[in-house]
């Protein structure tokens, strides 16, 4: 790597704050490859500057791509407690014009038009006793900024930091999160990956963030202030999950981290199946034999969820496979059932199942 573009004089008085009206450009001083498709671009002003912003805020880049002027917002992944530089962390996405351009064209020393910072998504606007940070994919950036700031400030804030990624290879900032967790007495991290990466030694959660998993990760989540950032379906799922649990929604805040990745990520975002109907590839037909009705159920939804979505009222109570209220005879078809004691093996052998905790693996005929 080249010598640092900018070497501050730490003996000099505090430098003047960054002012985007005067400082119309920022210069890339460093690029870090975070994962196979995520890069962090470290940016400096032209001269000594003191970057002041709220952790969680974003910059707007003004770029000329293919002769066209394009503005894009990127959350700052850096922390104002390290005020000399800022950084943005960008994921390359299929069809993502700006993100891909950044990945392919930005070199150290290059200048980029920039405005900002702005944004309201920051736990420093309304500090709380305890937090739940929920991040999906590169939506981790504003939460990382907040966490880094709290860490640098020696905060003993009680934080559960949940990062959801597609595979262990997509997890961002794993080592740094681990370090912060080691330094901060009440900082806990939980990783949730949809799939395993063959050969990785990943030991976090496998699957998706659903109500049960969240309750497992943060049993006291109802008492926490929640900050969420990630693809739109991810955030919608989180919203639904919290609202479903009766969470006090004024204590919920969310930020979409980038228009472009938001759209592009949606197709593969780690989301709660309840919301991501449009993302499912396989859909099965569920027949209610006695009622003579049927509905469709995506393979990642429970039969009960799909029945409710389709407007049917099948008996249920716990929705978690414990009470057996939804127990129904399955006339044909196969399911993947994850119950919690609401049914006996003997009953399963006799063809009963619990729609509330069963995802179809074929078309199903139910005795309802």
């Amino acid at each position: 790597m080249p010598t640092p573009f900018y070497a501050p004089d730490f003996a000099a008085p505090v430098s003047s704050p960054w002012n985007s009206d005067q400082d119309e450009t920022l210069r890339c001083v460093h690029i870090r490859q975070e994962t196979h498709d995520v890069k962090t671009f470290v940016l400096a002003a032209n001269g000594p500057r003191n970057f002041r912003y709220l952790p969680g805020q974003f910059l707007t880049l003004e770029l000329e791509i293919g002769g066209e002027k394009i503005n894009r917002c990127y959350t700052l992944s850096s922390t104002p407690t390290r005020p000399d530089l800022v950084s943005i962390t960008v994921k390359r996405v299929p069809g993502g014009t700006v993100s891909n351009w950044l990945h392919d064209n930005v070199r150290v020393g290059m200048e980029l038009g920039a405005m900002g910072p702005s944004g309201e998504f920051s736990c420093f606007k309304s500090p709380a006793k305890s937090y739940l940070f929920l991040s999906g994919g590169s939506g981790v950036t504003p939460l990382m900024s907040m966490a880094r700031a709290l860490h640098d400030l020696g905060s003993d804030a009680d934080i559960v930091f949940v990062h959801c990624a597609r595979t262990p290879a997509d997890v961002l900032f794993a080592e740094e999160l681990t370090l912060m967790a080691r330094n901060m007495p009440h900082f806990r991290i939980a990783l949730v990956c949809e799939q395993h990466t063959p050969g990785s030694n990943y030991a976090g959660h496998l699957g998706r963030l659903d109500a049960a998993r969240l309750a497992h990760i943060a049993p006291d989540f109802m008492q926490r202030d929640v900050y969420t950032c990630g693809p739109a379906p991810f955030m919608a799922a989180v919203r639904g999950l919290l609202a479903g649990a009766g969470f006090d929604m004024p204590r919920y805040r969310e930020e979409s981290f980038s228009f472009e990745t938001l759209v592009a990520d949606a197709a593969h975002a780690p989301v709660n199946p309840e919301v991501a109907v449009e993302n499912t590839e396989i859909t099965y037909k569920i027949d209610l034999q006695k009622m003579g009705k049927s509905f469709t159920c995506p393979s990642d939804q429970t039969v009960l969820q799909a029945s409710v979505a389709a407007g049917f009222r099948l008996p249920s109570s716990c929705s978690g496979g414990a009470c057996g209220t939804c127990k129904t005879k399955k006339i044909s078809g196969t399911v993947e059932m994850k119950h919690a004691g609401g049914i006996r093996q003997r009953e399963i052998d006799q063809g009963w199942f619990l729609p509330c905790c069963s995802k179809p693996t074929s078309d199903i005929v139910m005795d309802r």
Partner: protein, 421 residues
């Protein structure tokens, strides 16, 4: 004395007065069989404070199996949990009191109230209650437990907070008698409930004597020696009585030699948990209580090879009797419904590998006791009617054949006297 009496309930006063008047050697006064007030006393002190036989282990063979046992105004739920322990609870939801399980038997994953779906695991812990808010603490709302003991496959419950401790003594003495029959390795081949229109004590008293057997039970007395429960000796029966004594002595020696304890133990009226046992010879081939005294099931219990093991009889206070034979076990439980209605539940168990239609038929297995139960029902119902006429007054017991009836009444009177003092 008068000041104390003033604070006592009419129920207690009536009970005390009747108990004080009881004449040993005589049957009980009419109110003991007629009065709902006395039934309340019975439910509170007899069925509420003693070990009650309610079921056999094969009624709940697998995890998740449950049965309900109703008597008086009680409903008790007995389930086998996932650790294969047998649990007993009041069959009552901790939310608004709904009865939890309405059927007499079934299978559950967890125990779910049909009303608002409060869900309890099989240890009674409340694990799910919707809409109860964030501050809801389910920890104090588990199902109310009931004491339960499994004595070699016989399930006894006790509703008292502090159950009689001498159950352990009975278990220590009785287990060697019962355990060889391996009731836990059996299955329920048949269970029949009959309701008798009489007070539960008439059912029990009738069971405790065979004075009535020869003239009323042609089927039972095929296999049952009439001398097994006392007989007045006279010139005509002297030889037969002696022959029975000899058979008994010879068989006891043989059975004891096979590791089957046979000698009589009788604590019917001198313990809180009173019981009696004896292995009695069976007439003819000596095998089983059937219409030809031969085994009803070709698949013998346990590792028995000799079908002629007589019948181990076991009586418990206040509400059961049992016959353990080489091929099957019959258990009777008596549960009051009201002062004048009583449930008699008869349960026939055979080896769990015995195949119906091959090793046994239900008809042959149950024939003797179905007939006998029906005859007994008629006898006790006629007693109930006679006692209700008002012309009844307690009559004297036979010193030869009604000693065990006297012991039943002694136990009952003693227990109530202590508990209503």
């Amino acid at each position: 004395m008068t000041t104390t009496n003033a604070t006592l309930s009419a129920q207690t006063l009536l009970t005390r007065e009747l108990l004080a008047r009881r004449r040993p050697g005589y049957s009980l006064e009419a109110p003991f069989y007629l009065s709902e007030t006395i039934l309340q006393t019975d439910m509170e002190h007899i069925f509420g404070k003693h070990w009650i036989f309610v079921a056999v282990e094969p009624q709940v063979p697998e995890a998740g199996d449950y049965i309900t046992v109703d008597f008086g105004t009680n409903s008790i739920l007995i389930v086998r949990d996932d650790d294969m322990n047998i649990q007993a609870f009041h069959n009552v939801c901790r939310h608004r009191g709904s009865r939890l399980c309405a059927s007499q038997q079934g299978v559950v994953g967890n125990i779910v109230c049909p009303y608002h779906q409060w869900t309890y695991d099989l240890t009674g812990k409340l694990i799910h209650a919707k809409h109860m808010g964030d501050d809801f603490d389910p920890s104090g709302l588990g199902l109310k437990p009931v004491h339960i003991r499994n004595m070699a496959g016989l399930l006894f419950i006790c509703l008292a907070e502090n159950p009689p401790e001498d159950f352990e003594q009975m278990a220590a003495e009785m287990t060697p008698y019962i355990a060889p029959h391996q009731l836990s390795q059996c299955k329920v081949a048949a269970q029949i409930d009959i309701v008798e229109d009489c007070n539960w004590k008439l059912t029990m008293e009738n069971n405790r004597e065979c004075y009535h057997c020869m003239s009323n039970h042609p089927e039972l007395t095929i296999s049952l020696y009439e001398y097994g429960f006392g007989y007045q000796p006279n010139e005509d029966n002297k030889a037969d009585l002696q022959r029975f004594q000899d058979i008994m002595a010879a068989n006891h020696e043989r059975w004891e030699g096979m590791g089957l304890p046979s000698a009589e133990i009788d604590t019917l009226d001198d313990r809180i948990t009173g019981f009696r046992t004896q292995r009695l010879p069976i007439d003819r081939s000596g095998q089983s209580q059937t219409m030809n005294a031969e085994v009803a099931s070709k698949k013998l219990l346990a590792d028995f090879v000799d079908p002629a093991l007589g019948g181990l009889s076991f009586w418990t206070q206040p509400n059961s009797w049992h016959h353990f034979m080489s091929d099957h076990i019959v258990s009777f439980t008596v549960l009051p419904i009201s002062a004048t209605k009583t449930l008699v539940r008869t349960t026939w168990c055979v080896h769990k590998d015995a195949v119906e239609g091959v090793d046994y038929t239900k008809e042959n297995l149950t024939a003797v006791w179905n007939a006998t139960n029906d005859q007994d029902r008629r006898l006790v119902e006629e007693s109930q009617i006679g006692i209700s006429t008002g012309a009844y007054q307690p009559g004297p017991y036979s010193p030869f054949t009604e000693g065990l009836v006297e012991k039943f009444c002694n136990w009952y009177v003693n227990r109530l006297s202590v508990l209503t003092r």
